[in-house]
């Protein structure tokens, strides 16, 4: 049984050398059969396991992770959480995620440090202000707390930005979501893992799925490096490797894999209290609670499964940061890394049936998977438990590509999501 995390227990444990804490999750041996198998021990997979147990009472669940949980994009992202999306379908899904995040620390009894410090997308011209107005109006109608800021409003929230008119992209204003922010990415993974484990879910690490067993058109189990495991239903949340799994199981996906890079600077005393993104420079950044600037940009231009960085993107993203905030040019970069993301034609996720019976997907989140972890898990859990779409996940079904009903946030806004 997990010991409750609280200030009181922390105090008591402090008095006895923190010896009373128990594993945050067990490391059980895989059983030959489960009700549900979830492939992928990232945030989405773990959240799926948690909500399956919590919301649907499905607890005979195995979560299979080829390495260590949170080792993919969940542990490689820039931790931004927001729901400033244009289409009502997206807004509903991502805002569910933000609402779940808002209660997540207490729900999981694990401080995921969700810091609603606000998220701003800068505009650099009058034309962009008009586009931002179109976005903000849509969001407000959809119930998202989005605002349009003039230059002065931006200055109040992020005075270190370059407000000079001589800048290549002078700041005209911003689209701002106060409820957006950041969370501690590893804590989200660990919190969901601990929560799922406490319901009896088996989290099995170092267990790579090598094949999907399909019998009479139905997925009935998986072959793994730790033996064959069977289940009635299988959920897959393997961002970056969705096509690899698809090939094993025999379905097709409209996905390209690309590297997305991220950067962190040396720790500084607080200089930046919000998240700022400039689509024109292709750079966004925030400052972590530890003090490091967490910096990100757009996708690499070369399809890739290589989880590492390269100079051309560094020059675009970090050069862009130096333009956005010239005073940071002397700050040192500590570390950079890359993750592999699923890129769909409309930059929206794919949730629901895979085309192979019994196998369901939560993938295709592109660059925005972290913010959607609770919602993605919530949806996939619903689908695995009921065999039916949740009302919010239906628009994101794979069939939208056949119907032509794409949900293209990027094309709607000119901003890549």
């Amino acid at each position: 049984m997990n010991k409750t995390y609280s200030a009181l227990n922390l105090f008591r444990e402090g008095l006895r050398g923190q010896r009373g804490w128990t594993p945050a999750w067990r490391s059980p041996k895989p059983k030959p059969k489960y009700d549900v198998i979830i492939i992928g021990g990232g945030g989405h997979g773990l959240a799926t396991a948690y909500y399956l147990a919590k919301n649907h009472g499905v607890k005979n669940v195995a979560l299979l992770e080829k390495g260590w949980i949170g080792g993919g994009n969940s542990g490689r992202n820039t931790t931004v959480v927001r729901s400033d999306y244009y289409y009502p379908e997206s807004a509903a899904l991502y805002d569910l995620s933000v609402r779940l995040y808002e209660g997540l620390s207490r729900d999981l009894n694990y401080n995921i440090m969700f810091s609603q410090r606000g998220m701003m997308v800068l505009t650099h011209s009058e034309a962009e202000m008009e586009m931002a107005a179109r976005q903000v109006n849509a969001m407000q109608i959809n119930g998202i707390d989005s605002q349009l800021l003039e230059t002065e409003g931006v200055r109040k929230l992020a005075p270190i930005l370059n407000f000079g008119r001589e800048a290549r992209y002078p700041i005209h204003g911003a689209m701002y979501q106060p409820r957006g922010g950041t969370a501690r990415h590893d804590a989200v993974v660990w919190g969901f893992a601990r929560g799922a484990d406490s319901f009896g879910v088996d989290i099995i690490q170092n267990c790579e799925v090598t094949d999907v067993i399909v019998e009479a058109g139905r997925a009935t189990g998986v072959a793994t490096t730790r033996g064959e495991i069977r289940a009635n239903r299988i959920g897959a949340a393997v961002a970056g490797h969705s096509s690899v799994l698809a090939q094993m199981a025999g379905y097709k996906l409209p996905i390209h894999s690309y590297a997305l890079q991220a950067f962190v600077s040396e720790p500084l005393k607080p200089v930046m209290d919000t998240v700022a993104f400039s689509p024109a420079y292709g750079t966004y950044f925030s400052q972590s609670d530890k003090g490091g600037l967490v910096i990100g940009g757009g996708l690499d231009r070369i399809p890739s499964y290589g989880q590492r960085g390269n100079l051309p993107v560094h020059e675009t993203v970090l050069g862009g940061l130096c333009e956005m905030v010239p005073m940071l040019s002397k700050v040192k970069l500590l570390r950079h890394w890359g993750g592999i993301v699923d890129v769909t034609p409309d930059s929206s996720p794919i949730i629901g049936p895979s085309g192979v019976d019994g196998l369901y997907l939560d993938c295709g989140w592109g660059t925005g998977g972290f913010k959607a972890i609770p919602a993605g898990g919530y949806m996939l859990a619903h689908i695995l438990a009921t065999g039916e779409h949740h009302e919010l996940s239906r628009p994101f079904d794979l069939s939208r590509f056949t119907k032509g009903r794409l949900i293209d946030e990027g094309a709607a806004s000119g901003i890549s999501h």
């Binding site: 490797h241 390209h256 894999s257 231009r301 399809p303 890739s304 290589g306 034609p345 032509g404």
Partner: protein
Amino acid sequence: MQLFPCPFCGLRNEREFHYMAEPGKFRPDTSSQISAEDWAAYLYDTRNEKGRVREIWMHQTCRELFVMERDSVTMNVLGSTSLRASAGEAAE
């Protein structure tokens, strides 16, 4: 920064190249009925292999399309051929 071999210009900086598509996809004849599924497969389905891949790229400075074979994990480039030569191969 990677170096890609344009079959016409030799090794050049990756910034000069633009990824176009996976080869081997042929446009369906739209004068006849094509099911929505087949059209969607043509438009969107990808192989997206991990490891050895064949891809169509454009060398933007000379505007020529060519087929490059490379490893999508290690980024090692295995070779490139002009699209015309490659089309010949495919037809054989």
